[in-house]
Symmetry: C2
Subunit: 455 residues, 2 copies
């Protein structure tokens, strides 16, 4: 009896079969895996990520079955998931689902990879678990609504349950066990946006903890540990505590018919997703009129309230990470280089020309953009030129969205750039990884990608 | 500059010196340590606790410096803190601070003990860290207010920051590092009451995660990992997300003058603290009039709203743990045995006489009791006898509160009963533990209490 939303969603995740997942969804899952892999490698050398890896080394076993991608060592699944999750949420290049404002890859893939390597899963098991994690996490993000996202980092909160669902599917939990796993995951769900004002390191911590806490919830459930039955929609559950506009119907929206994984967007720019629609719209104007930055007197971006909530507090970014949440700096890089990638951020986020340009940018709440959000992320800008022209640009789907997606060649190029940026893997190693992932469904037992086995 | 509450509280914790703590507070800290030790041992054999220990064995190192009390093995501080915290929150006998409705011992002592054994601290270091943890956690619980406690388990939320403060003090964090530790702890803070309706295992999970997550936050801060500067009172911080009546003044209430640790209550009955005032008041009536349970026709307890919120949903308790949250069952045990200890719960929570008595009990919201709460937990009952008498009882401080506290002999007896209940330590082992703790301030380097060293 799937007589309430938490139970229906848990049963869906527990019962999901590889053969019932449409082929395009499976292909997209492999695309997302390749895209995630690049992000996971890009975090190598980043202080926040390396500090979490240091902690994992202090507290976790020195050997194990599951690989830490940035260091190529092996440890227990808990710590591999923790470090790989932190790492893949560093470069702000991991995927995002627009409607839920949730980054699924950075919590789902680390948990799945770590556990799959530990218990020896097939590629089909892995793809099934990944789809379960995405479908659960995205629906919970949509359910928790905009009020939740104003204060809570959905990737930390919904992400904990997503990781539990994915690991629970790998561990072949029964529907009842899966519901207990949801209960233990949801009651650990956390992550506050407060860190953003101080450019603090919490974003990586949120991903790390969502992946590892969700993993813990699933392992505990397998052993009979019980959790709340209505953790999502109950009167003292997640929504009761952390949302004022939750909609339980979203939890079970067309389960088995609508595949939210295929709605997920790849990130093209190296910045917070809230900046992408405006960046693409500005790029359109710049290219069409072949504008130099010096010709631009003012840029007005017409945005949704969520963009103002997240980006508004970032006024004088002092770090690369903070700059990725500055609409002004992002548009300054676009104006200067016509691209806002990792290298542009590292080299120029505090360049005087870019900073000067950032002062010309303002955000304005727009009724059309706001009402379309979060289902659609419309980009609208007006540009005033120094010679008095008023130019406007608009994109209805930013680059990387399902209707404007990246090809497998573009995904490989992006992953190669990310791996090269952090010096975490050679191009030939990356090619071997791509081959494995494109043929994942044929793999009988997943092995290490980069680690030299400690066994 | 302690220019905002999060910073002032973090600076207080970082700067706290043993010599500045009044002697009665230090003596009470040792009392609380002995009291905690009994609770930590009482969880041995409990399914939920043993399952968390199983997970710790799967994911953590098989050797280490820090002892798991219920199994006498050693592992890394993270997992020792996790298991000891789960264990000490099982029997519902650990201490509670009334004003904050927060159980400090179950999160502070496990984190402190695990880290102190790892880095080799003195007894004075330990006592100082414990006081730091209590003072921080209790003030955060008071700050988050009653609206928070309606949905969130304060021991899970405030407890995470309390553990970070205690471990941070042991690690000798600077005030700036301590503030970062608060940021990383607060953004992980979680724990929802939803599990209570289903008698699920989450209460032990909340304690386990608060202790281990707070520990992680402090270790990360020591290595330069940054956190939000205003995690407690900021516009996207803990109170913004999880409270509607937060009062920042509570965070810094008479720091260094008021010692909230000394306000903490010992639990005498083996049940949720919300049942204790009524249990003591009923016991007073029963003793005064020498009543048998059969002579009682009806009991009305006059309670605060928080008691109704937490106990109200528990209508037909199916497990010992759930019975500890049933006002009817608790009063039934009191009426039957004049005591509601672990043995009475284990043997009689579903005894037909006790269940029948529980149906005679009702809770009524009382204006006087509610307005005194949470500073004072007044117990008021009226008892209708079968022969038509209307008797009333009242206690202004339930047994175990600071004005009605337990002596060191009573504390030792309670700890001996708890250790004997779970068969976790012999009376002579317990006597040796008591000796060590009563002389803790003279100890130069803490060693294991029960573990056989794996080194």
């Amino acid at each position: 009896m799937n007589d309430h939303p938490s139970k229906a969603l848990a049963s869906f995740a527990a019962n999901l079969q590889f053969d019932s997942i449409p082929e395009p969804v499976l292909l997209r899952a492999a695309d997302l895996f390749v895209d995630w892999f690049g992000s996971a490698l890009a975090g190598k050398g980043a202080r926040a990520v390396e500090t979490i890896d240091w902690f994992a080394q202090q507290m976790g076993p020195a050997t194990g079955t599951s690989e830490v991608l940035i260091s190529r060592r092996q440890t227990s699944p808990l710590f591999a998931a923790m470090v790989n999750a932190a790492s893949s949420h560093f470069a702000e290049q991991d995927d995002v689902h627009n409607g839920s404002v949730f980054h699924p890859a950075t919590v789902v893939f680390p948990a799945v990879l770590a556990v799959a390597q530990s218990i020896g899963c097939s590629g089909r098991d892995i793809l099934t678990a990944v789809v379960a994690g995405y479908e659960v996490g995205i629906r919970i993000g949509e359910f928790l609504g905009r009020s939740h996202y104003k204060v809570f980092h959905t990737t930390g909160t919904a992400g904990t349950v997503a990781a539990a669902a994915a690991v629970g599917r790998l561990l072949q939990l029964s529907p009842d066990q899966m519901l207990h796993a949801f209960g233990s995951a949801g009651t650990q769900a956390a992550g506050l946006w407060e860190f953003l004002r101080d450019a603090a390191d919490s974003k990586q911590l949120h991903a790390a903890k969502a992946a590892s806490d969700g993993l813990m919830a699933a392992y505990l459930a397998q052993q009979g540990f019980t959790g709340a039955q209505h953790i999502l929609e109950g009167p003292q559950g997640m929504a009761a505590g952390m949302s004022s506009d939750a909609d339980p119907d979203k939890l079970v929206d067309r389960l088995g018919e609508r595949w939210t994984l295929a709605e997920t967007s790849f990130k093209f720019h190296s910045s917070c997703r809230h900046t992408h629609p405006a960046a693409d719209a500005l790029l359109e104007v710049i290219k069409k009129h072949n504008l130099d930055p010096e010709e631009i007197a003012r840029v007005t971006t017409y945005v949704h309230q969520g963009a103002i909530d997240v980006l508004g507090p970032v006024v004088n970014p002092q770090t690369v990470h903070q700059a990725k949440f500055s609409m002004g700096i992002v548009l300054g890089l676009i104006a200067q280089f016509r691209v806002a990638g990792l290298s542009e951020f590292e080299g120029y986020f505090n360049d005087s020309r870019v900073v000067a340009f950032s002062k010309k940018v303002q955000m304005v709440l727009d009724a059309e953009v706001d009402s379309a959000y979060p289902a659609r992320w419309i980009g609208k800008v007006t540009v005033e030129t120094t010679d008095g022209r008023l130019l406007s640009g608009r994109v209805d789907e930013p680059k990387g969205d399902p209707g404007n997606t990246l090809s497998r060649v573009e995904l490989e190029q992006k992953a190669l750039r990310l791996a090269a940026f952090s010096n975490a893997a050679t191009p030939s190693e990356m090619q071997a990884i791509f081959e494995k992932i494109w043929h994942l469904a044929e793999c009988n037992k997943i092995a290490s990608f980069l680690a030299i086995s400690s066994v």
